[in-house]
Each structure stands twice: as structure tokens, then as C-alpha cells.
Amino acid sequence: MKKKLSTILLIMVACVGVATAQTRGALRINEIMVQNENSVVDDYGCRSAWVELFNSSYAPLEISSVYITNNKDVLNVSDAQERKKMMYAVPLGDVNTKMPKRQHVIFWADGQPTRGTFHTNFTLTPGQDNWVGIFDASGLNVIDSITVPASLLANTTYARAIDGKDNETNPALTWEVRDNLTPTSYITPSSNNIITDSNTKVETFKTQDENGFAMTIMAMCIVFSALLLLCVCFFVISKIGERISKRNKAKSHGTSVSELSRSEHSDHDSGEEIAAIVMALHEHLDAHDQENTILTINKVKKAYSPWSSKIYGLREVPRR
């Protein structure tokens, strides 16, 4: 039995391991510049193409051992080791690869990985479609990918309209070209594509639910449904419990459930009736009239714990 339980436990631990390995799924490609002539420069004062990644989760994200590539052929290679050789691996051991929640990091696509963690081994080519993909540590699963169109001009970027998000109603609007010409089309390396100065949720409620009526109805419905669910669930559980206890009782009496329920009244063991019988007996027998003089000694059993044992105490606790 113990062996079986240990096996189940091991399988469950393995499942937990697999589940936690997938947490890098929050990483998103957020903005890409293919031809950089007058935009941001790297630590070496050079302008080159760049790929901005975004941690879309609200938890820090370690991106070391994530793979980045512009080589779409990796998708045709099934062997993980072969795939990894074709991609740029974000190296281990750099504290900067731990991305804080909802933050960005830029990778320079300059083909010079010796310049540091954030310089990839590939470059992007202007005038043609550029596919960029990021893969998890296994090298097999694509976390995110995007094809930057060949029509993208120099000093413009291909960026998500909303940081880290897909436009689910119209996927064609997820990505847009940014050229720095209008306030809504700023190129924003290492910062949010949409800069917000207020809580949009609060603003929405402020404008669309001025008197709080909608909030009240929605919230009360949610509170009621949560507790109603619990109520229904426990109603069912109590019925099942009742049936099981009746069946067990019938089994111990050597009779059937229907016979047992016929023979006993449901209110027979109500607490009130038992209390009334006890009170009547007490009055009738006039028991314990000398109660004040009765000394009762009960053995009190205390659970031993080495954490609270007095023998390990340095001195006795002073008592008044």
C-alpha cells in the first residue's frame, strides 16, 4: 500500500515539475525594429536592429535559457539538440535576465553575441519578411513568434498595440507600425507601448457607472452565486452523508434502510427531547442534591511535545 502511495506521490511531484516549467509562457515579443538609422543606440554606441521582449505576467520572470531566433527553419527540425544549435540561447548567470513584472528588455540583433547577454547571434534583413521566434528551455515549444513585414521602413517599428496582448476580436489589429510621427505612434524601446497615467478600470466605472448601480448588481450577483454554489454543493453533500450514515446504521442493525426508517421516527434523537428527558429524570430522582460537596478528580492527559517540554527550559517561567 505504502509503495503504491509513494508511486502516486512521485507522479504528482513530476506533474508539478512539468507545470512549473511552463511559467515562461508569459514572455512576449513586444516591438521590433529592423533598420535602425537614427533610433536608440546600444552600450557600444552602435545602432542595430532590436527585438523588445515583454514580461506580460505580474510575477518576475527568469529568461535565461530561453532561445531566440530569426531562422524559421528550426520549426522543421524535430531534434531538440539540433534546434538549439540553430538558435541564440540567452545565457545563464546574468542577473539582468530576471525580468521584473510587466517590464521590457531589448535584444540587439547585431550578430555579435560576444558583446554580452543581450546581443544575439543573428541579424535582421531590411526589405524582406523577418520571422522572429522565442522558444522555451527545451527548444521545442514556441512561446511567441511574429513575422515583421518586408514593407517596414527604416526607423519604424512593428509593435503590439497593447503591451503583451493579442487583440482577440480583431487579430489583424494586434500589431501596428510605429513611426514616431504622431503621439499614438511613438517608438518605445524598453517602455510601455501605451503609456497610461490612470487606472483604466476606475476611469471606466467613473464614466459608465456614475451612480454605482451596475457595480452593485454585478457584485451582488457574484456574491450570491458564489455562496449559492456553496449552498447547493453542501445541500447535496449533506444528503449523500445522510444516506451513507443511514445505510451504515441499517447494516449494523442487520436490516434494510427502508425498514429502519419505518421503525424510527426522525425526531427521536433530537437534542431538545433528550435534554427534556434528562431534566425530568433529574427532577424525579432528585439526584445530586449535595452537588456542592462532591469532589471529582479527573485525570487530565496532556499531549507531550518536545517544543514545550519544561525539561528543555532554561529556567522556570515566573508565575504570580
Binding site: I222, V223, L227, L228, L230, C233, F234, S238, E272, A303
Partner: protein
């Protein structure tokens, strides 16, 4: 040499409380002393008002904020600031909920699950106050933080206000705990107002015995169901049900005892003291605070009334033998176990053999769950 003495003593004089004091400091110190007096002399929620009151004294002793002494509660790195992190980051309230879970017996609720709906109805106090707060000109997030006072649950109020309106947290916490202490004064007139003598005499059937298995299943199912509906309530509901599982599973008695005694006491001390210390004059002595106290009072009244009225409405659909005494409706606000005791006392006043305590404990503990769910809803909508 004399000059050296004089200049140093002058510098020291500039650091003292006497030099830096303003009339606002003295008002806040007086409020703190008043809370301590209420707690010690009038026995009003002493476990909370003593730490809060003393915290107010600690937090409002004037000092030179430009001296870089790192002693103020809002100065990063100060001891008080480190302790205050539990409030500002919101991890004290879930720890208190762990203790509440370990102390609470949900048997009354499990035995009669329909009583859970009373706990839900009483949450109307929160959203009624939310609407009025909006009318008074508060922003939606501030209104949500203030309205949670109607849940009559101090830790929940602190948790939500720390997330939605940190600048109002001191006033909200003090208001929530003050009204919880005033439950015996606020609720009985409302209960009398909305019930007839006949209704007050309704005798409810004794609750059935609940098996150990049901008690163990309750926190697990409760967590899964409520948190799947409102994931933003996980910190509070998760800890509440976890504490309850520790209590009921029978194999973690020591952990349950620690959670319900030592841990709760430690966190209560730290929470009360730091909340008190955070009530600085500049943020506390404002017109907004008066508004918060008025709204809190109103939220309590709406919550208690809606609980009682919901029972009356519910009774219309119940057979005569299963009618619920509306006097337990007020217990839908959490304030455990004070509001349940009030139901019991009022019931006994009209019929000395009508003990309502166990029946009232059902809506009372469901009020705790309900207010945590409501806090989760507000957090989900407004954070």
C-alpha cells in the same frame, strides 16, 4: 566652548517633539488616548483598540522629519516602516484570516446551508455604501475601499483599502473596528424596527449533527468554489479555509492551535499598532474622514437591515415548519461572534427558551466568506 554647547542644545531642541508639535498632533494624540480609554474602561474591542490607540500615540509623536532619523512609519527602512509592510503590502489580513479559519466552527452553516444566503444578502450594505460614496464625490476605487466597512470585517477592510485607497486606510480601519465595537448599539433597534413580535418568536428546529467528513470537505470545496468564482479573493479565502482545514482535519491540532492563538495574537498586535501609527494628522484630520465615518455607519445599517429583510423575504417561500427567525438576519454582517450573540440575546428577550445562537452562527460565518468574496469582487473590478 559655550557656543558649542548652545548650538548643540539648540539642534537637539529642534529635534524634540515639543519644538515640532502642531495642534494636529495633539488632536491625534487625544484620539489615541480616547481609544485606549474606550478599550480599557468601556471594554470596546480592547484587543484591537488598545494596539490601535497606542499605535496612534506612537505615530503622532512629533519629530523633525527632515533630520533623516529614519523613525517615522512612512520613512523607508525605519523599524515602523518594516512592520508597516504587512499592512501596506496586505499580508497581515490574510494571516488574521488564517487564525479566524482555525477558530471558526462552520458546523451551523454545513447543517443548514441555506443560511449562507443570508450572509450574501447582508453584503448589500457594502454596495449600498458604495453608491452613496460615489454620490458624495469619492472616486470609484476610494468608494469601494470605504464601502467594505459594511462587511464588518476589520482585516478585509484593511486588506482592500491597502490595495484600492492606501491614503484612506487609517480612517477606514479605525471606522470599521469602531463600528464593530458598536454592533450591540447599532443592530438591536434595526432588528426591532423590521420585525414583528410574531416573527421574533419563531422557533427554529435544532441543527442536525454534522459529521467530521463534512467538516473536512467544507474548507476544500469552499475554497475551490468561491475562488474559482472570485480568484481575487484567494489571499483572504485561501487562508480562511486553510485555517479551517487545519482545525477540522484532526491531524494538525498543533498547527491549528498556533494559528488560532499565538499567530493571530502576534499579527493582531502588529496590525493594530501599525494601523494606529499610520493615522497621521495630515491624512486623518480631514473632511474625508468624517465622510468615511458617516458612510461606515450607514453601511452597517444597510447591511443589518438587508440581512433581516432578506430572511423575511426568504420566509415567504419556506414551509411553516422551516421558517427562519429574522432576528438572525443581522448576523449576516461578519462581526463574529458579536452579531450572532446579539441575535441570541434579542431572541431570549422575547422568549427565554428561544436560543438562536447556533442558528445565528450560520449566517455569521457565511458573512465572513461573503465579505471576503465581496472584497475580491471590488478588487477585481477596480484594482
Amino acid at each position: 566652548m559655550t557656543e558649542f554647547f548652545i548650538s548643540n542644545l539648540q539642534d537637539f531642541w529642534h529635534l524634540t517633539g515639543f519644538y515640532n508639535a502642531t495642534w494636529e498632533h495633539f488632536v491625534m494624540l487625544a484620539v489615541g488616548l480616547f481609544f485606549i480609554w474606550l478599550a480599557i474602561k468601556k471594554d470596546f474591542e480592547p484587543m484591537l483598540l488598545v494596539p490601535i490607540g497606542f499605535g496612534m500615540l506612537i505615530g503622532n509623536i512629533p519629530f523633525n522629519t527632515e533630520a533623516g532619523l529614519e523613525i517615522g512609519i512612512y520613512e523607508e527602512g525605519s523599524v515602523l516602516n518594516i512592520l508597516y509592510n504587512g499592512v501596506s503590502a496586505g499580508w497581515y489580513p490574510p494571516l488574521i484570516f488564517l487564525g479566524i479559519g482555525a477558530m471558526t466552527d462552520f458546523s451551523a452553516l454545513i447543517a443548514n446551508p441555506k443560511l449562507m444566503l443570508i450572509g450574501a444578502a447582508a453584503q448589500f450594505g457594502i454596495f449600498g455604501a458604495y453608491m452613496v460614496a460615489l454620490l458624495l464625490g469619492f472616486e470609484p476605487d476610494q468608494a469601494g475601499a470605504i464601502a467594505i466597512i459594511g462587511g464588518a470585517d476589520g482585516p478585509t477592510a484593511i486588506f482592500l483599502s491597502s490595495k484600492l485607497a492606501p491614503n484612506l486606510m487609517g480612517a477606514i480601519a479605525v471606522s470599521a473596528y469602531s463600528y464593530m465595537a458598536l454592533v450591540p448599539v447599532i443592530q438591536p433597534p434595526i432588528m426591532r424596527l423590521f420585525t414583528t413580535k410574531k416573527e421574533r418568536l419563531i422557533k427554529m428546529k435544532p441543527a442536525r449533527a454534522v459529521s467530521q467528513n463534512e467538516k473536512i470537505i467544507f474548507p476544500i470545496i469552499g475554497l475551490l468554489l468561491t475562488c474559482f468564482v472570485v480568484p481575487s479573493g484567494i489571499p483572504l479565502l485561501g487562508m480562511l479555509f486553510f485555517g479551517n482545514l487545519l482545525r477540522e482535519c484532526g491531524v494538525t491540532t498543533r498547527l491549528a492551535k498556533t494559528a488560532s492563538n499565538a499567530l493571530t495574537d502576534i499579527v493582531t498586535i502588529l496590525l493594530g499598532m501599525t494601523v494606529g501609527a499610520s493615522t497621521q494628522a495630515s491624512q486623518f484630520l480631514t473632511a474625508e474622514t468624517i465622510g468615511i465615518f458617516a458612510l461606515g455607519f450607514m453601511a452597517f445599517i444597510i447591511a443589518s437591515s438587508s440581512g433581516v429583510l432578506f430572511v423575511k423575504l426568504f420566509n415567504l417561500f419556506l414551509p411553516k415548519s422551516k421558517k427562519i427567525n429574522p432576528l438572525i438576519g443581522n448576523a449576516g454582517v461578519s462581526a463574529v461572534p458579536m452579531s450572532a450573540r446579539i441575535s441570541n440575546n434579542l431572541g431570549l428577550e422575547y422568549d427565554p427558551s428561544n436560543y438562536l445562537l447556533m442558528h445565528a452562527m450560520g449566517p455569521n460565518v457565511s458573512g465572513v466568506i461573503g465579505s471576503a468574496v465581496a472584497a475580491g469582487v471590488l478588487l477585481g473590478f477596480l484594482a
